[in-house]
Amino acid sequence: MNADSENRQRRILVADDEEYIVRVVSFKLESAGYEVVEAIDGADAWSKVRAGDIDLVLTDHQMPLMTGLELAGRIAADPATRHIPVIMLTARGFRLDAEEIVASRIVELIAKPFSPRGLLDRIRETLDSTERGGERGGERAA
């Protein structure tokens, strides 16, 4: 696997209470050149997000201690973390209502079972668009 040098600096937090899912996703992302931070539940994920240096959060929805939706809500509500895009893995048919989309700022819902290949593509696209959006955001802030 050729590591993508452009992605080498990106850190992705993978949160899921299923160790095998964390393992396969981490393997796929690391093979693509990303650095992976693993979290085993919502609370663990939140403390690692707050510790800083996370470029994207990929989280399961149903997790102990804090659901993926709650985690996304906290990330969106905290000025220090609100720039971090969140992709959530969910059951098929899971929908966010308008209020939740605004409150959680989740950029993508991906239904389980998922394709690691497809997931990697979505993560790349999200990071690219966030980078462009982030620049615009910086202009707005300034």
Binding site: M1, D17, E18, V24, F27, Q62, P64, A91, R92, K112
Partner: protein, 439 residues
Amino acid sequence: MLDVTTISGVALAFVAGLAAAWMLFGIRIRRACISPGDARGATTPIRALDERLRRELEALSREHVLARRIVEERIGRFERMFASFPDPILVLDRHGDVVDANPAAKALAKIDADDDVRIDAVSPRSLEDMIGNRTAVRDVLEHVRAVVAAGSEAVRNAEFELDSDDPAGVGEETSRAFEAVIRTLDEHGRALLVLHDTTRERDSSRLKSEFVAKASHELRTPLSSIHASLEMLADGDLQDHAQRAEFLDIAIEETDRLAKLVNDMLDISGIEAGVARPRMTQVDLAEIATDVVDGLRAAADRRSVDLRLHVQPGLVVEGDPEMLSAVIGNLVGNGLKYVPEGERVTVAVDAEDLTRSVVVTVTDTGLGIPPGDLDRVFDKFYRIKRYERNARGTGLGLNLCRNIVEQVHHGRIGVDSRLGEGARFWFSVPASHPASMAA
């Protein structure tokens, strides 16, 4: 001053009274009036007429009494039905006010049956006063207007929910669901409102939906790992033998988990639907417990768990050996899975004289179960929050145990635990043979 009307009224009353007197005492009057001299010639036709009238009158009187009794009986029957009907029934006048309500309806309105509160055409009550929910009342009254406008035989159905202050469901859904049938009652524009409590059906339907949602999540989780592992293998992401072996192992393990989940789901649905066909025979529970413990000995050793067995020989029950073995296997397996390394799991099979049953207990020296979780550990897909990380099972094991013990073997199952002091899971099955009882 008496006017003409009064006089004629009095006269009429007098004549009517006379007629009645004649009808009642006619025979006697006439007998007294007719002289014995003309009795033979003139009285014969009069007597015959008199006799006929008397018989007709008596027949009419009997019919009247009978008809009245029938009507009274029917009214009494309907009143008893109205009073004893478990569903609330309300009679509404053309304005939508309640002019009659059975005890169930009064109970809904929290009117004490002993209070003898009057609800009738003279003292009507508003529907909102009776059922307390403005939105539901508006909806129901709209239907009432519609059926009254449509005339006889018009029927409408409505559904609504009422808040319940029943403390039984603390923290749970406490509203009650009702289905209302509204129909015209008579030509005076009155309507009948019958409420049927559908809370149980609603809750059962919600439970089914929750089960489907949870089952769907539990099925997708191993499927995700299997799909991802195989796709990475196919894509050539796994470059060396060790990586391929690791991800193939994940796929195999998750396939087994999926198979067990599907089997547990099918077993539980089979028992719940009453289509499971247990093979009942005389089962020595001590023997089964020994086999299960022997089979799990290696797993216990791997986790350095001290697995002990205390059995009384010859404790026989009537049961399905495979199912009972699955129950003991699940309870011991849980013990091994959740106790920290170095702790102890003890399996015991004893006779219980008082209930004439055989009791199997699986006691561990692990972390214990929080009090709030004790009642729910036998629910489908229920997981104790603090142990969720350890859970590699199907989430259905204890529910399957409960189904096997209670539904198939008419036994009992339960758990006692204090946080930090381990847990004691137990089940008892009626002893089938006096020899199985302790001396």
